[in-house]
């Protein structure tokens, strides 16, 4: 079962591509990598089991992360050390809003502070659950939509 993936960049440009298997996410990472910088937010939308976390695993690897990326659904947030010299990114903040019902609940994650430290990017699964936070940060968002 392959996935159809659409990327929407901050400037509104769109790109759609097929990801035929779980190992093939690098094609998507190659498209977004030049566009990310410290403070960027990458949102991942798609139904349960679409491959959101799998995509984050590939992104982390591209950024030089060594740590195993497990699903952050229950932890809500995990911070993964990475080492990307080109963009100066040192931390990947992996957020999963699956269990979050209201934007206000994001407060406990201190996200605004975490993402704006000048050396981090944020990847967020289930952005639908925290829409107003995403809207507030729209200009820094790269949106990835996954169709199963």
């Amino acid at each position: 079962m392959s996935r159809l993936v659409t990327i929407v960049f901050p400037n509104g440009k769109k790109k759609t591509q097929k990801v035929p298997q779980a190992e093939a996410w690098n094609a998507i990472i190659d498209l977004i990598y030049p566009e990310i910088k410290p403070g960027s937010i990458v949102t991942l939308s798609g139904p349960l089991g679409a491959g959101k976390t799998t995509c984050v695993q590939h992104l982390a690897k591209t950024l030089g992360g060594k740590k195993l990326i497990q699903s952050p659904t229950f932890a809500l947030m995990r911070v993964i050390p990475v080492a990307d010299n080109r963009h100066g990114i040192k931390r990947l903040i992996h957020v999963d809003a699956y269990r979050i019902e209201h934007d206000e609940e994001l407060r406990v994650l201190d996200l605004d502070e975490e993402v704006t430290d000048g050396k981090s990017i944020c990847v967020l699964e289930w952005p639908e659950n925290v829409q107003s936070w995403i809207q507030k940060n729209q200009t820094r968002c790269i949106a990835i939509y996954i169709k199963v």
């Binding site: 089991g49 976390t53 195993l68 497990q70 229950f74 932890a75 809500l76 201190d110």
Partner: protein, 352 residues
């Protein structure tokens, strides 16, 4: 070693739960003197009548109210406490800090020692709270830690000496239960519902028509993978008609297959770990350890192994709670492993 009798006050605020406990340890006698977890108390009692607008994971009001209910603000009660234990991680830093600030303040104002506890060590210690387990407590012990956020095989070589020898590479086992249930349209939390339905199908003594994958089960490593179950459950479930999907006996049949697949992986990987590391005993801890079928299959598998004890899970202490933090705190107390109130901080990514 410090063998002195002691009473530990423990505070847990690592993610969803706020919990406070008092544990008395003298020799081999261990007694939970007080134990309360916020979600088990009616919401108005928890917040003293005023329910905050966003209650989830704020912890502050809850910690204060739980400490008050434990009698900690009465000097007579407080004077019976020998040390204050608190979860430092892993967990959400803002949540952890609430517990740490409370514990730090108590330690500063009373001069009592402070003990920072690893939440995962707390889960390991939950099994030690069962008297029968404690009476036969000998290392090395192999622990399967399974919850919504964790799936790890841990080799406990001694108190404080742990090694993670296997882990999930993606979803936790508890998460696999919940998300499978969600895909079937069952209510949250789906885990307990899956086991309830599965038991219903088990009674029919039939064979399930559904086959689900067991990824990595034959992989020589002790690692596991559960994320593929979501795709398999979706495909299988969408493959049957709408009408059948609302039929209770079909739901039960599917639930049975889901539980069967998850338990199979957990039990077989535990068996592989036994054969590789030769522990004296095996224990299962964490939220999923409450699953009866997992307990039963684990016990059956262990019976086929020579001379291995099964430390049964501690009833009522599977999910996050402060009693287990107090138990791990007591282990540290005995080793004089204290922290300074001036410098203790949260460790959100702390591993065992």
């Amino acid at each position: 070693m410090n063998n002195k009798s002691h009473t530990i006050l423990a505070i847990e605020t690592s993610c969803d739960e706020t919990s406070v406990a008092l544990l008395r340890v003298s020799g081999n006698k261990v007694e939970i003197r007080h134990h309360e977890t916020a979600t088990q108390i009616p919401i108005h009692a928890r917040y003293g009548g005023v329910v905050p607008e966003v209650a989830a994971r704020t912890h502050v009001a809850e910690v204060v109210s739980l400490l008050e209910r434990a009698g900690i603000f009465l000097s007579k009660k407080l004077s019976t406490v020998d040390a204050i234990a608190v979860t430092r991680g892993p967990g959400l830093s803002t949540a952890l800090r609430v517990g740490i600030e409370a514990a730090r303040t108590l330690a500063f104002s009373t001069g009592k020692p402070l003990i920072g506890v690893n939440h995962l060590e707390g889960h390991l210690a939950s099994s030690w709270l069962v008297p029968e387990n404690r009476n036969q407590w000998k290392f090395p012990i192999l622990a399967l830690l399974v919850s919504g956020g964790h799936t790890e095989l841990v080799l406990m070589k001694d108190f404080g000496k742990y090694r993670i020898i296997g882990r999930t590479r993606d979803d936790a086992a508890g998460e696999a239960f919940d998300k499978s249930a969600k895909l079937m349209g069952l209510a949250y939390p789906g885990g307990p519902l899956i086991s309830k339905y599965a038991a219903q199908f088990e009674k029919t003594k039939q064979k399930s028509r559904f086959t689900l994958p067991r990824p990595m089960i034959n992989d020589p490593s002790l690692d596991m993978s559960f994320s593929g179950l979501k795709t398999a459950v979706r495909q299988t479930w969408e493959g049957i008609s709408n009408e059948e999907r609302s039929n209770e006996s079909i739901i039960a049949e599917m639930a049975w297959s889901i539980q069967d697949a998850i338990c199979d992986v957990l039990v077989q990987k535990t068996q592989r770990a036994i054969q590789k590391h030769h522990p004296v005993a095996v224990t299962v801890v964490g939220g999923v350890s409450a699953n009866k079928e997992l307990q039963k299959r684990m016990a059956e598998m262990i019976q086929t192994q020579t001379n291995i004890l099964f430390h049964v899970p501690a009833i009522g202490l599977h999910t996050d709670n402060a009693a287990m933090i107090a138990a791990a705190g007591s282990w540290r107390f005995s080793r004089n492993a204290f922290d300074r109130w001036q410098t203790i901080d949260a460790k959100p990514e702390w591993n065992l």
